[in-house]
Amino acid sequence: MRRAIDLTLNGVPVSVEAEETENLLQVLRGRLGVSGARFGCGLAQCGACAVLVDGEEKPACDLEIAAVEGRAVITSEGLGTPEHPHPLQAAFLELQAGQCGYCLSGILVGAKALLDRNPDPSREEIATALSWHLCRCGVHNRVLEAVALAAKRLREGAPA
C-alpha cells in the first residue's frame, strides 16, 4: 500500500510517500536524497548499505521502508560533517583509512554501533563486529586501527 511513512533520518523527522514494501536503500538514495548507504550487492552480503536503525546496524538493501516507520535511521551523513566530523570520521582521515572508499560509509556506521555498545573493543572485537563488511582494496588494518583510535578519543571525552 502506498502511503506516507514517517521516520527520523539522521536526527530529522521526515515523511516519505512510499509503497510499504519499497526497499529502504532505494528510498534513502532516491527520494530521501542521502548517499551514504551504498548499493553493493542487494543481498545483505557486503555491508556497503549498512545503516543504523534505532542504534542497531542493518543492511538497508534488506529492509522494507515500512520496517523503519517511527524509528531512527542513521547513515554516514548522520555521524558528522567535514566541519564537525564524528571521531570515527576524524580517525579515518587521520590514518588515511581508505582507498576507493566505497565500503567506508557502511563500515563507519557499523563501527559506531560497536562503539556505542563496547567503548573499548580489542582488535579482535572490532574485526568480528566488522566481519560482514567487505573491503576489496585491503585497508582492513587501517580501518581496525582507526576504529580503535576513535574509541580512545571517545573514551577521552571527544564529542560524538
Binding site: Q45, L134, V139, R142
Partner: protein, 697 residues
C-alpha cells in the same frame, strides 16, 4: 628526452595554468580511483613549480579538459605520467623565472621561487606566477629540456600528504553512483545470456504488467527497459528476464573452471629467450602451478550515465580513462569522437578492467535510441560478477636445471593463459547489436627492448642471475570474457616461480633465503631481501611440518621495476590462518610514503585473498559464481597485521607500486603453507579441500 606522455600532449597550458585567484590549475590524464594518484601527481606538480600544495586545483577528468594519457593502468602513473607532469612544471618554472629576471634586469639564476613568489637573493620582488602570467605564453609546446629537481631539493615529494579524494568518501555523496541529474531516467539492459545468443521473443505484455509505463527498447538482441525510478527499472528487468526466450545460449562446461582445462583449448604458441636446452647430465626439476579465473570483485557494481541531445553524446563514467571511453563509444555508436564528451566520476576500486566500461556504453546505446533525457544504468551485483571481464586462469609448467653445486643455471617457464588484456576496448553490449563484427585485435605491443609484450610473460622468469632462461607461452582462446586484472600475469608468475625456487632450494639441500641470495647479485635486491629476513626474524624458522609455517619470496617487478620481498607466517589446520605478513620494498623515489604503504598493503591483502579463497566458477551460460557467497574474499577477522618497510626512498627514479606486492606475498604464503604442512600445494586457491587432498596424498 621528452617523456612519452608529454610528447603526446606537448602544450604546456594543457597541463598547468595560473588562475586569477592565486591558485594553480593542474590537469593530468590519470584517473583517480582510490589509489591516490591524483594526490601524488599534484605533489609532483607543487614541488616542481615551488608552490604550496594547497594552491593546486586538480582539474576533474573529462575529455577536452585534461591531457590524453590513455588508460590508467599497469602501475605506470608515477613512473611515466609523473615525469611528464614534472617536466612541464619545471619548464614553466624556468619560463617564469626568466620572465622575472627580464623585468628585474638580472640573471635568471638569481631568481628562486617560493610558494609561487619570485625571490631575488632571498628578497621579495613583488613578482609571482600570477603577476607575471601576462609575460609568459603557455600556449606553446614543451621542449622537455628543463631539469627536474634532484631528491635533496624536493619539498613536497616524499611527504605523506593526505589524499585529496578521501574526505568526500567519508561524509556521504562522493561517487558517480551518487550523481543526480535533472530529468533522469533509469534503465536496465536485459543481457544476452551469452555472446551470440539471439532473442527469439519477449512477452512485452508481461513486462508491462509488472510496470505499466515501462519504455521497452528492442534492437536486435539489445533489450533495455527504461523507467522513471530505479525500483521500476529493476522490477521491469526482473519481469523481462522471465518473459524473454533466447536461442543459441552457450552451455559452459563447468570443468573449464579449472586451470588445467586451458590446455584443452585452441591456442597459439610463442617461444622466447634462450635456445632449447640440449641434453645435459645436470639435475632437472619440474613442477606445475595453477591459478584459476579471478574476479576483480569491485565492491560497488559498475554504473554509468549517458545523454544524447542535438547530435551530441555525453557519457559519465568511473572507468580507467575518458579518452579510451570516447574511442570505445565512437566505435560502437558510429558517432565521431568530436560528438562525444566523457566526464569522469569516482567509482569503486576496479583493479584493472572490471565492468566499469560497460554500463556507460549500455546507457549510450539507449540514449542514442531515446534522445533527450539522461539515462542511468546501474549494474546489479550478479551483472558485475557475471558479465564483467575476469582475470585469466593460468598454468605455469616450470623446469629447472641445477649445476653440481645446486645453483639454478637453466630455467624454462611454459605458460598457458588467455590474453591478459583480451577484452580491452570492447563492451559486453556490442555483441547484441545487429551486424556485430568483433573488433580487430589491437596491434602487438612491444616491450622496451622490442620483444613481444604479453601480460602472461610478466615476471615469467625469476629475478636472479640465471645463465639461460626461456619462455614458451600458449595463448589460449578464452572460454569467457577475460581482461586485465591487477598485475596481469605478473603476480601468478611470481607465485609459481618463487614457490618453485623454494622447491629448488630443497632439491639443492639449501636454506631458501641463502639459496636466493646466492643467485642475487643486484645490491638493491639483496638489501631488500636481507631487510625482509630481519623484519620477519627469519633465523627463528623451525622444522617443516608442524602446522605453523614461515615463508618468503622476492622479485623485481617485471624484471625492471620495484624490488619487493614478502614473508608470511601462518597456521594450517583445516584452513589457512594468516598470522602476519611482511614486506620490504625498494620502489625508488617515493612520492607519498603513506600512499605507497597503502598500495603495497592493499595489494598484499588482495593477493592473500586470491591465494586462499578465490575462484570464478564457470557453468550455465557463463559464470555461475555471481554472489559474494559464491565468491568469498578475505574478511576483517581473517586479515593479519602487516608490516611494511620502504627502502632507498630518495633514489631519483620512482617505480610504480600498485601491483608489485601481490606476487611476492602469494609465493610467501605458498612457501609458508608448504613449510607448515611439509608438503606443497601448487594450485590456487588453498581451500580446505586442497589442504585435505595435500595431506592425504
Amino acid at each position: 628526452m621528452i617523456p612519452g606522455m608529454l610528447a603526446a600532449n606537448p602544450r604546456l597550458d594543457r597541463w598547468v595554468s595560473f588562475e586569477p585567484d592565486g591558485r594553480v590549475r593542474v590537469a593530468f590524464g590519470r584517473m583517480e580511483y582510490g589509489q591516490g594518484i591524483a594526490t601524488a601527481l599534484a605533489q609532483m606538480a607543487a614541488d616542481e613549480l615551488d608552490v604550496a600544495f594547497a594552491r593546486l586545483r586538480v582539474v576533474p577528468a573529462a575529455t577536452g579538459e585534461i591531457p590524453d594519457e590513455g588508460l590508467t593502468v599497469g602501475s605506470m602513473s608515477i613512473e611515466f605520467s609523473g615525469p611528464a607532469l614534472r617536466t612541464v612544471c619545471a619548464e614553466i618554472r624556468g619560463l617564469f623565472t626568466a620572465a622575472a629576471a627580464a623585468r628585474l634586469a638580472c640573471a635568471p639564476e638569481e631568481i628562486e621561487v617560493r610558494d609561487g613568489a619570485m625571490l631575488r637573493h632571498g628578497q621579495t620582488t613583488g613578482l609571482d606566477y600570477w603577476s607575471l602570467a601576462g609575460d609568459v605564453d603557455l600556449v606553446r609546446d614543451a621542449t622537455g629540456e628543463a631539469a627536474l629537481k634532484t631528491p635533496e631539493r624536493m619539498l613536497v615529494i616524499g611527504q605523506s600528504n593526505a589524499r585529496l579524494d578521501l574526505p568526500a568518501k567519508l561524509f556521504g555523496a562522493a561517487f558517480l553512483h551518487d550523481l543526480s541529474l535533472p530529468d533522469l531516467r533509469h534503465a536496465r539492459v536485459l543481457r544476452q545470456p551469452s555472446p551470440h545468443a539471439s532473442l527469439l521473443s519477449l512477452d512485452e505484455a508481461a513486462v508491462r504488467r509488472a510496470v505499466p509505463d515501462v519504455d521497452i527498447l528492442i534492437d536486435h538482441a539489445f533489450v533495455a527497459v527504461i523507467c522513471e525510478t530505479e525500483a521500476d527499472a529493476a522490477r521491469a528487468h526482473d519481469a523481462a528476464e522471465v518473459a524473454a526466450r533466447w536461442d543459441g545460449v552457450r552451455a559452459m562446461d563447468p570443468a573449464l573452471s579449472e586451470p588445467a582445462a586451458l590446455k584443452t583449448l585452441p591456442h597459439q604458441d610463442f617461444a622466447a629467450g634462450a635456445a632449447p636446452a640440449g641434453p645435459s647430465n645436470r639435475r632437472r626439476v619440474t613442477a606445475t602451478y595453477g591459478k584459476p579465473f579471478l574476479s576483480h570483485g569491485s565492491l560497488g557494481p559498475s554504473m554509468g550515465l549517458a545523454q544524447y541531445r542535438d547530435g551530441k553524446l555525453t557519457i559519465w563514467t568511473h572507468n580507467q580513462g575518458v579518452y579510451p571511453m570516447r574511442a570505445l563509444a565512437a566505435r560502437i555508436t558510429g558517432l565521431s569522437p568530436e560528438a562525444i564528451e566523457v566526464i569522469h566520476g569516482q567509482g569503486p576500486g576496479c583493479y584493472g578492467h572490471n565492468g566499469a566500461d560497460d554500463p556507460p556504453i549500455d546507457a549510450a546505446l539507449i540514449a542514442i535510441r531515446r534522445p533527450g533525457r539522461p539515462i542511468r544504468v546501474q549494474w546489479r551485483r550478479e551483472d558485475e560478477f557475471g558479465f564483467a571481464p575476469v582475470g585469466t586462469a593460468m598454468v605455469m609448467e616450470l623446469a629447472a636445471e641445477l649445476d653440481a653445486s645446486g645453483r639454478l643455471v637453466d630455467y624454462t617457464a611454459e605458460i598457458w593463459n588467455t590474453p591478459h588484456t583480451g577484452a580491452r576496448g570492447t563492451a559486453v553490449a556490442e555483441s547484441a547489436l545487429a551486424g556485430y563484427v568483433p573488433p580487430p585485435p589491437p596491434p602487438q605491443r612491444l616491450m622496451p627492448d622490442g620483444s613481444r609484450f604479453s601480460g602472461g610473460l610478466l615476471n615469467a622468469t625469476p629475478s636472479y642471475d640465471i645463465e639461460a632462461t626461456r619462455t614458451l607461452e600458449h595463448v589460449v582462446e578464452t572460454p569467457i570474457r577475460s581482461s586485465s586484472l591487477r598485475s596481469l600475469g605478473g603476480a601468478p608468475n611470481t607465485f609459481a616461480a618463487e614457490s618453485f625456487i623454494d622447491e629448488l632450494a630443497e632439491a639443492a639441500s639449501q636454506e631458501p633465503l641463502a639459496y636466493r641470495l646466492g643467485m642475487l647479485g643486484d645490491p638493491r635486491g639483496r638489501t631488500v631481501l636481507m631487510r625482509l629476513a630481519e623484519m620477519c626474524d627469519w633465523t627463528r624458522r623451525w622444522e617443516a611440518g608442524t602446522g605453523r609455517g614461515l615463508g618468503l619470496a622476492y622479485d623485481r617487478h617485471r624484471g625492471r621495476g620495484a624490488m619487493v620481498a614478502c614473508a608470511a607466517e601462518l597456521e594450517v589446520e583445516t584452513e589457512v590462518r594468516l598470522v602476519r605478513l611482511w614486506c620490504a620494498c625498494d620502489g625508488g623515489l617515493i612520492v607519498n610514503p603513506d600512499g605507497a604503504r597503502n598500495q603495497l598493503e592493499g595489494g598484499m591483502i588482495m593477493a592473500a585473498s586470491w591465494t586462499l579463497k578465490e575462484q570464478v566458477k564457470l557453468g550455465g551460460p557463463g559464470i555461475v559464481s555471481t554472489t559474494w557467497d559464491d565468491y568469498p574474499i578475505l574478511r576483517f577477522d581473517e586479515v593479519p597485521p602487516v608490516e611494511i618497510e620502504l627502502i632507498n626512498t630518495r633514489d631519483p627514479r620512482p617505480f610504480g607500486l600498485g601491483e608489485v606486492s601481490q606476487g611476492p606475498v602469494m609465493a610467501a604464503i605458498g612457501n609458508a603453507v608448504a613449510h607448515a604442512l611439509g608438503t606443497r600445494i601448487r594450485e590456487l586457491p588453498f581451500t580446505r579441500e586442497k589442504i585435505a587432498a595435500a595431506l592425504l596424498a
